[in-house]
């Protein structure tokens, strides 16, 4: 015989289970509905600002990637003219170190002090100068193109010795180069349309044009070793120095004497025969400087 208590217990358990099922049934149904229908919580997300946050994050990522891309592109920038010339002149000096023979042990003449003082006396302030002495007569003296307010000079040590130049005379030679480089003859000769377009550009995705660089380095050599400056350029330079030095007659006379010394040297010493070809010519300069005799 099954006791009545057992039936009572089974009935109670069934009732309890039924109640539980009745309670959980609709909730389960609702959860299933939520998983399937995203649009029902879209408004809630909007209200929470999560969509805006997502957009912000996406914008940030895009900006970061754009910046990275731009940064990578900038690595291919070609220098602008503002920073190109000093670098390029130094590159030429480096590439021609053996022929110019500037890597030598030389005495300290303190030329920089003498020349900066000279520049100041002529009213040229805040000019940075670099002087490089060479143990060569291939180039006697020159100023190389450089960045704004910066000047690179090369000067032959054997020339200083042969001429037994004083600091004032050296300063005058450097000053002539200073005036010449400020007139832009050298830059104008080197800078053609091709180089002008190349400077300040970007070569991302293109091969680097090394030939262009090499051909323009060659232009430096052509001008300084072979071609030199024109008569017109030399005339303009000499005339400007004439005007600038006329206020100080002692200095003007020193310049005249210096030109006479150089003229004698170029006529008597075979090592300096090429000088007239590069800077035509001390004799002509003297004629341009000397006052003309008025005819009565």
């Amino acid at each position: 015989m099954i006791p009545a208590k057992f039936f009572l217990l089974i009935s109670a358990m069934l009732l309890f289970t039924g109640t539980l099922l009745a309670e959980s049934g609709p909730e389960k149904k609702e959860q299933g509905k939520d998983l399937l229908d995203f649009s029902s919580i879209k408004d809630i997300i909007k209200k929470d600002g999560l969509e805006g946050e997502l957009k912000k994050k996406q914008d940030e990522k895009r900006k970061y990637l754009d910046a990275q891309k731009l940064k990578e592109m900038r690595r291919f920038n070609v220098p602008t003219q503002d920073v190109f010339w000093s670098f390029f002149s130094e590159l030429w000096l480096v590439k021609n170190a053996t022929s110019l023979k500037w890597d030598i042990h030389k005495p300290d003449f303190e030329l920089e002090k003498a020349f900066t003082a000279f520049l100041e006396s002529q009213g040229h302030f805040e000019k940075k100068i670099k002087i490089l002495l060479m143990d060569s007569t291939e180039i006697v003296h020159a100023a190389l193109p450089s960045n704004d307010n910066e000047y690179i000079f090369i000067l032959s040590l054997p020339f200083i010795r042969t001429m037994d130049l004083s600091k004032v005379e050296i300063s005058l030679i450097l000053f002539e180069d200073f005036v010449r480089i400020r007139k832009g003859y050298f830059k104008n000769y080197v800078l053609d349309k091709e180089l002008e377009n190349f400077l300040g550009s970007n070569f991302n995705g293109k091969p680097f044009d090394k030939k262009l660089i090499d051909s323009h380095l060659k232009k430096y050599s052509t001008l300084l070793f072979e071609k030199g400056f024109t008569f017109q350029e030399q005339f303009e330079t000499t005339k400007e120095i004439d005007v600038l030095l006329k206020n100080d007659l002692k200095m003007w006379n020193t310049y005249l004497t210096l030109l006479e010394k150089i003229d004698n040297l170029t006529k008597s010493n075979a090592l300096y025969k090429k000088y007239n070809q590069i800077y035509p010519s001390p004799e002509l300069q003297l004629n341009w400087l000397k006052p003309k005799k008025s005819e009565l």
């Binding site: 130094e90 170190a97 890597d103 300290d108 003449f109 302030f125 670099k130 002087i131 130049l165 600091k167």
Partner: protein, 153 residues
């Protein structure tokens, strides 16, 4: 020939320099000097050399490039006074890696510089400079004599 020759002047200066160096170094024994760090500075030119002695012709210990950090040292005597030997005033005693040597003061800056090779790295790489070129570039900055005309007053 009436001109005062710069060569003669230079020779006299060199004799004076070496005489003073001799006196200066013999007067102070090496162990009486201590070295302490002043701070970090950055090399400001394209390439440069660290020299064994404060002279542009002294042996090169190592070569550094633009923005290379160097530890600037000072020499202090036993009683705490900073010592600057004759000929050292345009030079800084520096430590670069394992080397201790001298770099010209004009080529060191307190802040990082805008270096050409950092601003235009691919252009610089494209030039294909070899070790010989870099050696001469560093030598170029040893060999330059530099100056700047003063500010207009």
């Amino acid at each position: 020939m009436g001109n005062y020759s710069v060569q003669m002047e230079s020779l006299m200066k060199r004799i004076l320099f070496f005489t003073l160096c001799l006196f200066s170094y013999s007067a102070i024994s090496a162990d009486a000097v201590k070295k302490s760090m002043i701070g970090v500075k950055y090399f400001s030119e394209m390439m440069g050399n660290v020299h064994q002695n404060p002279s542009r012709y002294s042996q090169v210990l190592t070569t550094i490039s633009c923005n290379h950090p160097v530890k600037v040292m000072k020499e202090v005597s036993k009683d705490g006074k900073e010592m600057i030997f004759f000929g050292e005033n345009n030079w800084n005693l520096v430590t670069v890696g394992p080397y201790e040597g001298y770099v010209m003061s004009d080529y060191l800056s307190d802040k990082k510089n805008e270096c050409f090779e950092e601003q235009y790295p691919k252009f610089f790489d494209g030039l294909n400079l070899d070790i010989n070129d870099l050696y001469y570039w560093a030598r170029l900055y040893d060999q330059y004599v530099q100056g700047k005309s003063k500010v207009r007053q």
